[in-house]
Symmetry: C2
């Protein structure tokens, strides 16, 4: 089960986030009068690429805000929407970096503009570059939108300053994590387990769990100890989530996870699972298969066997449990009210029981 | 002569901008403690790519601020530094879009990380993609930095809101202009002169002239009529500057301009000069040469002949004069104090007399 489904945020509150997002896109789109049809076109494309998500980060903001007794939903909704736009910006740019042209079965920003270019008769390599170019621009607009939403969230000066700092830290972390990930793929050496964990924490966990939870707490006017505990909860559960995700990327049932169990192995994705296996003698037998562009189902089965035999799978699953336990501990602190604990505990369980 | 050299901003004021920039980089770099060595590495690379510029946009901010009687230099310096970071963000991403790996004779962000990758034994195409990936991330950090600087500039709430709006409009305009430019190159049809002017206004003039001048005026507490007049001045002189730049890109003396007079023709850059020529029958003789990857000096000479014979060169030069005259008119308005006029008038002259 996905943690998304377990975080109970009342529909009314989440609807306010949708309204804020719609409002932002409407205003941005209407600015086409000043910035021309190209701007409006980009904004509508971004809108499509932002819709239909699970709103995980807004849910984190609102869960903290709601259970910590926050009063001004309007401010929380704007901050929640800002984290959704930040997410859009980061995945649009991440897709450029990964040269992905599809997300959730649909052409992403790069993909839709690539397709537009090939339809106009442009050769594929050039069309791909054009699509990626537009995606760079679109991501910039979404990133700017996140700052603009927090800037205009309506909180008092002190609160706004702290929210901007949380947003800014999340951007810096994501940038550092993305760069570390690019760096891993640039060298033939395998990163250590700790290096992989640090990369995943920076690249995803920070802006997805840690920062939105803390932002919701800040809007609610929570004390420093609570904000700190929620940060630790977010960091640890975020890392646990990522490790489980990586295990599922190799061992998950394709018809349950909805994604290929060969993709990660074929692209040579550096995960905790692989970083651990690579330190074991068993790995020598499959090292040449890992990251090979023509890796097939049979090769994948060989690697999986080694991942099990070398103890890497067990190691990764235990590591995920360890981080989930640290998340529990953060939740158990006195500074965290029972209602917050009750709301977030299922997230821990769902991460550990996750099979898709 | 470059307009940069004619805008007289006292050294002390410009030094404050350098201090703010240095401070921003120092703080960002020190955050490596939280975000790891990858973050610090990126920041130092961005610092190198921001240093040594002519600080044209900060000069615009400070000129408006200073001549309009602005009092709080600290605020103006932060806003000025924000526009410099925005410039860095936009050129770093523009270089990704143009697949440029060199700027001002030095490897740019993409170039330095590409070189690092090839040194590590990565094949060139992959290394180029890695370099561009890091540049996408670095540009995001610089863009976030621009927002952060304006957010924390210390102005009162109302002023800060207006400054963020100016920054935001500049980002939207630059994105729209960049996209229009990408779009031009995606189709075989030639844009009209008006379309090229609109693209250049959005892509460069807005964030380089219009927005910084208005931001300086806002910090100085100028009235709406003055801000409006400076906006019109900036827009028109910015367009004039760009048209002259495009003419020099084809007719300039390489040893004076410091850049190849063949590059623009070879890459098929859509400029006012070309958009006008393409509507004339004389163009048919050279149409096949324009944008050809193996265009040589002789081909370039043929195109130049046609640009002169068809009247395109004269047309472009007159158009630049027209826009410069509109800039004069904006400066001549009653709402613009004599000191501001005296400081900005040389910019108009320098654009018109520009030979490099």
């Amino acid at each position: 089960m996905d943690p998304h489904d377990l975080v109970v945020v009342t529909g009314r509150r989440l609807q306010r986030v949708e309204d804020v997002l719609d409002g932002w896109f409407d205003v941005a789109s209407a600015r086409g009068e000043r910035f021309g049809s190209h701007h409006a076109h980009l904004i509508e494309n971004l809108r499509r690429n932002t819709s239909g998500g699970k709103r995980f980060r807004p849910r984190m903001v609102l869960t903290a805000f709601e259970t910590l007794g926050g009063g001004d939903l309007e401010i929380a909704a704007r901050v929640a929407a800002a984290f959704e736009l930040l997410h859009t910006a980061l995945i649009v740019h991440d897709d450029v970096i990964d040269r992905d042209f599809v997300r959730r079965g649909q052409p992403n920003v790069s993909g839709s503009y690539r397709d537009r270019a090939t339809t106009a008769g442009i050769s594929l390599p050039l069309a791909e570059h054009r699509g990626m170019s537009v995606a760079v621009i679109a991501g910039d607009l979404a990133l700017a939108g996140a700052y603009r939403l927090v800037d205009g969230c309506g909180a008092d000066e002190l609160t706004r300053g702290r929210l901007i700092e949380l947003l800014d830290d999340a951007v810096s972390a994501a940038a550092a994590g993305e760069f570390a990930d690019v760096d891993f793929s640039m060298h033939n050496t395998m990163p250590t387990v700790d290096e992989v964990i640090e990369m995943e924490r920076l690249k995803t966990a920070w802006y997805s769990f840690e920062a939105p939870l803390q932002a919701g707490a800040v809007v609610a006017g929570a004390g420093l100890a609570t904000i700190d505990a929620l940060g630790r909860f977010g960091r640890n559960i975020g890392i646990a989530y990522q490790i489980v995700d990586d295990v599922l990327g190799v061992f998950g049932e394709e018809d349950v996870t909805g994604k290929s169990a060969v993709g990660d192995l074929r692209e040579g994705k550096r995960t905790v699972l692989i970083a651990h296996a690579a330190t074991r003698p068993e790995w020598d037998a499959v090292r040449h298969l890992f990251g090979s562009a023509d890796l097939d189902q049979e090769d994948a089965a060989c690697i999986r066997e080694v991942l099990v035999a070398s103890g890497a799978r067990t190691y990764a699953e235990r590591l995920a449990s360890d981080f989930a336990n640290r998340a529990w501990e953060a939740l158990a602190e006195d500074s965290v009210p029972a209602s917050t604990r009750a709301e977030l505990a299922p997230v821990v369980r769902s991460v550990l029981e996750r099979t898709r």
